[in-house]
Structure formats: structure tokens, C-alpha cells
């Protein structure tokens, strides 16, 4: 990404901190939380070639655990967050052992089954999860005396979390483990013969993807102050997969673009268009037809072509 684009993106991210309408600041918070969620799935789908249809499991589990530990058990926010992150990462480690026994459609089906199992548990284990009613009454923390109940301080906190997550994911992509994961996506057989333990590389990446989805889950539960089985539903896993594919799988910017697209269509457009789901479908159809590689790489290629045009005439 050029410096100019980076400055532009920085200004765009800082904008909700200065605009007055809380609605737009809240929408921006939702976009960044969804972007971390999508970026976590992108580790598997884009860089690992492992298409998961159960990624809501990690966002949902972290959200439930944070709500349960802080509301029902009465732990402090810091303890609840740390325990939720650790437990969700441990769950991802266990799920990875099961899911990575297969690849391709088998992997997709196992992740789907695991996600649906958790969704069923959230519905039925009423004593802990509150069943269909979920867990209500989650209050936002006040780190260092900073009250996060107002939209702007909450957005600032989410922005910091987003920047940390994106920096860690960008570092991962450029690291040896990132290179091993991408190599395992493209030529697993050759990678094994080059000394890479492909299974281990994919498993570590699976756990990291679960961890960053859990981070998004913490943001999710504090944003909504509520959690219900919907957070673990298949539609949530499918939606984040669409964010990754629409934005550009295997790119750093793609999940942010995809998240912005879905959240804006869902929150803003649905206020004006009754059949907004149909519009969402049409937008995805257009992306698949005209920019199959996704919006971020597609826009980059389009800009490249536009820049090259005058040179070609010369």
C-alpha cells in the first residue's frame, strides 16, 4: 500500500472520532469489529486455503464467556476478557485437531458441524447461556478511568484493538510461519518434502485465527451489551466468509473493505431499502462477476489499468 493510501486510510479511521453523530461512530465501531473478525477468517481462507463455515464459533464463544464471567459470575472485566480469550484459543486448538483431519470440503463440513454444535448448546443450555433470551446486562469496562459507554471513547478503544490485530496479522503474513502457510496452501506435497510440517503450520494458524476471532467477540459483546445464540448461527459464519471473499481473500485490506460493505448495507441501506438482503445478494453477484478476486485487489488492478492507459497512448 502506498504512503498516500495509508494516510487516507488513517484519516478515514480517525474521522468517527471528530464527527458528532453517534450513529456513524457506532457504525464505524461495528465495521472495525467485523473487520477483525473477517481478518481472522482470512488467515484460514485467504492465506491457508482452508474454507471454514464455522468461524462464528470463536467470536460467539468469546462473547458468551465474557458476558457469563462478567455478568453471571461477577468477575472483573479484565479477568473475564483474559479468561475468555484463553478459553476460546484452547477451544480453537481442540477444534483444529478435529477439523484438520480433513481438507477441502471435508474441512468445511467439520467446521460447519462444530459451529452448529455450539449454536445448539447455546440454545439448549439455558442455565448458563440463557437460551433464546441470551445474556443481557453486559456493561462496558472503564480502563484507566476512561468511560467507554459513550460512542467516541468506545470507538477509540475498538480502533486501538483493530490496529493491534491488523499489525499482528500483517506481521504474521510476512513471517516465516505466514510463508509456510501460503506455501502449504499452494503446494502442500512439495512443502512436506521441503521439511515443513504442513499439519502443524495449519494447526497453529487455525488457533491464531480462533484467537483473533475471539478478540472480535470481546468487541462484539461490549458493543451490543448482549449476547444470544444468533452470534453462533450459521448465518454469522456465512456472513463473515462473504466479507472475506467480497473484500479480497488473501489481502490485508480486503477484510476491512468487505466488513465495511456488509455492515453499511446491513445498517445504513436497510433503513431505506426494505429488500436490502436482495440488494446484498446483487452486490455480491456483481463482485463475483466483475471483480472475482474481491474489491480490494480488483480496485487496485482497475487503478493500475487507468494509470497505464495514457502511457500506452504515448
Amino acid at each position: 500500500m502506498s504512503r498516500l493510501a495509508l494516510v487516507g486510510l488513517g484519516l478515514l479511521l480517525a474521522l468517527p472520532l471528530v464527527i458528532e453523530a453517534p450513529y456513524y461512530t457506532d457504525t464505524a465501531s461495528q465495521i472495525l469489529i467485523a473487520a477483525v473478525f473477517a481478518a481472522s477468517l482470512n488467515l484460514l481462507v485467504g492465506y491457508g486455503g482452508l474454507v471454514s463455515l464455522g468461524h462464528a464459533a470463536y467470536l460467539g464463544t468469546a462473547a458468551y464467556l465474557t458476558a457469563y464471567l462478567s455478568v453471571t459470575v461477577g468477575l472483573g472485566h479484565g479477568t473475564a476478557i483474559v479468561l475468555a480469550l484463553l478459553a476460546t484459543a484452547a477451544m480453537a486448538a481442540a477444534f483444529g485437531l478435529l477439523a484438520l483431519r480433513a481438507s477441502g470440503i471435508g474441512f468445511l463440513m467439520i467446521t460447519l458441524a462444530l459451529g452448529q454444535t455450539l449454536w445448539g448448546v447455546a440454545y439448549r443450555w439455558v442455565g448458563v447461556t440463557g437460551g433464546d433470551n441470551g445474556i443481557v446486562g453486559v456493561t462496558r469496562p472503564a480502563p484507566f478511568g476512561l468511560d467507554l459507554s459513550a460512542p467516541k471513547p468506545f470507538y477509540a478503544c475498538v480502533l486501538i484493538g483493530f490496529l493491534i490485530a491488523m499489525a499482528a496479522i500483517a506481521a504474521f503474513v510476512r513471517s516465516g510461519l505466514g510463508a509456510s502457510l501460503m506455501g502449504s496452501r499452494d503446494q502442500p506435497r512439495r512443502m512436506r518434502m521441503l521439511g515443513h510440517n504442513v499439519w502443524l503450520v495449519q494447526w497453529i494458524s487455525f488457533v491464531l485465527a480462533g484467537f483473533w476471532a475471539a478478540v472480535a467477540g470481546i468487541g462484539f459483546v461490549y458493543y451490543h451489551a448482549f449476547v444470544s445464540p444468533h452470534v453462533l448461527a450459521l448465518t454469522n459464519s456465512a456472513e463473515v466468509l462473504l466479507m472475506v471473499i467480497a473484500g479480497g481473500a488473501g489481502t490485508l485490506l480486503g477484510p476491512l473493505v468487505g466488513a465495511a460493505l456488509v455492515v453499511i448495507l446491513k445498517n445504513v441501506v436497510s433503513a431505506y431499502v426494505v429488500r436490502w438482503m436482495m440488494l446484498l445478494g446483487l452486490v455480491f453477484l456483481a463482485i463475483v462477476v466483475f471483480m472475482p478476486e474481491g474489491l480490494a485487489p480488483g480496485a487496485r488492478a482497475l487503478l493500475g489499468r487507468l494509470r497505464a492507459r495514457p502511457t500506452a497512448r504515448e
Binding site: 506481521a171 510461519l177 510463508a179 506455501g183 512439495r190 512443502m191 521441503l194 515443513h196
Partner: protein, 247 residues
């Protein structure tokens, strides 16, 4: 007695009821250039996949420089000094030639599991990749994407990836397949330049080139070793003539 780089005993591999490798015994001394010959379906590539751990044997043992490597994972074989090339190119299509070699170097480095250190900061990896590319005459194309690379150069890159692993035993599966006469000659020179500290086992159908590369030859048919010996002995053997004339 010369130490064996590779020692195979009573190796069998069955797919369903069909034996693809059927009781193969093979001993390759260290430093040897061994050619494996045989018609299509003789079990040559299956034999390679059994040695590298890509296939699990039904029976038998495989020893690499005395260590039993029977049935161990390919990545473990690679770390014990075994490298191979593939008959069908198995390279990284989205990467440059240098990045392809870096992935080979990474396989034997602890950096392969490091999620934080940027590879770009590890200049020694890029420099070693360039040195390896120089060995196979591809250093000027180091930053070219694989997709923009000619087939003959990709064949050289296959060998570069294997050499980057600093193997003790190198298995070359039809390295000359699909090349023009000039390219075959150049690649033959490259294979001849590989130091004798690396033992080579080679499958090749281009008889003229292969025979000039080999110290000794093993001929396989129907998953079994038919004849083994020096070039002169094997070429003169009537059973070999029969296999190649009758098929």
C-alpha cells in the same frame, strides 16, 4: 565395504489387491549415481514416494545412511537429508524464483514456525537463495514471478529447491521430461556438476542422457527389480532388451 546411502529390503506396496512395488531390494552406495529404468507402470515413482514417506509401505524396510526411515513423514525425511524432484512440476506459482527457494531454505530453519519476525529482515535467507539459484544458472531471474518463467527454467528451479535443502540423497524423477535437446544437454551438465557428497538416484526415460549420467543401473518391471549392475552389464542383459523391445 562402502557405506550405503540407501538400503531397501523386501519393500512392498499394494493398492487394493494390486502390488505396485513387490518385494524390492535395493542398495545404493554413498556417492553413487543410480539410474532406475523400467517401462511405464514398473513402480519407479511409487518407489520414490515410498522412500520419501509420501506413501506408507505395506511391508519392508528403508534405511537412509543406516537410519531406519520406513514410514516416517516426508518432512522428517527431508530433515534427515533426503530431497526429491517431481516428474510433474511442483513449484509455487504465486511466488518469484527467489521466494520459491526461500521456502525450501525455510523448511530446515526454525523460522518456519515464527509468526512475528518478517522474512524480509532475514537477508541471509535471500542471499542463500540467490547462491542456490546461481548454482543452477538462474540468478539473473531471481525476482521473476514463476508464472513468467519458461518450462526449462522451471525444471532447473525444481533441482534448485532440492539442492537448497543440502541433501545427502537426492531423488530426481524424470528431470529431463519435456525439454528440448539443448535444454537436456544443459541440465545434464548441471546434474553432472552436483558434488559426489550428494548421492543421486534418478528415474529417466531419455536413455542416451541417463546412461551417460549413471554409474549403475537398476531395471524394474511389474514392481520388481529385474536386473541390477553396471551400465555395460545391464545394457547387454537380454532380459532388459526384451523389456524394452517387447514392452
Amino acid at each position: 565395504m562402502t557405506a550405503s546411502a540407501l538400503e531397501i529390503r523386501a519393500l512392498r506396496k499394494q493398492f487394493g489387491g494390486l502390488p505396485a512395488v513387490d518385494g524390492v531390494d535395493l542398495r545404493v552406495p554413498a556417492g553413487d549415481r543410480r539410474l532406475i529404468l523400467g517401462p511405464n507402470g514398473a513402480g519407479k515413482t511409487t518407489l520414490f514416494s515410498l522412500i520419501t514417506g509420501e506413501l506408507k509401505p505395506s511391508a519392508g524396510t528403508i534405511r537412509l545412511f543406516g537410519d531406519d526411515i520406513t514410514g516416517i513423514a516426508p518432512y522428517d525425511c527431508a530433515r534427515r537429508g533426503l530431497a526429491r524432484t517431481y516428474q510433474i512440476l511442483t513449484l509455487f506459482p504465486r511466488n518469484t524464483l527467489r521466494e520459491n527457494v526461500v521456502l525450501a531454505l525455510l523448511g530446515l530453519s526454525p523460522l518456519r514456525l515464527d509468526p512475528l519476525t518478517p522474512l524480509a529482515r532475514r537477508r541471509e535467507l535471500a542471499e542463500r537463495a540467490l547462491e542456490t539459484l546461481r548454482l543452477v544458472g538462474l540468478e539473473r531471474l531471481a525476482d521473476r514471478p514463476l508464472a513468467a518463467t519458461a518450462y526449462g527454467e522451471k525444471r532447473r528451479l525444481e533441482i534448485a529447491l532440492a539442492l537448497a535443502q543440502q541433501p545427502r540423497l537426492l531423488l530426481l524423477d524424470e528431470p529431463l521430461a519435456g525439454l528440448s535437446r539443448e535444454e537436456r544437454r544443459d541440465l545434464q551438465t548441471l546434474i553432472e556438476s552436483i558434488p559426489r557428497s550428494i548421492t543421486i538416484v534418478l528415474i529417466e526415460h531419455d536413455m542416451d542422457t541417463a546412461l551417460s549420467l549413471a554409474d549403475s543401473i537398476t531395471v524394474m518391471q511389474h514392481g520388481r527389480v529385474l536386473v541390477e549392475g553396471t551400465r555395460a552389464a545391464v545394457v547387454a542383459d537380454p532380459r532388459v532388451r526384451e523389456v524394452y523391445l517387447v514392452g
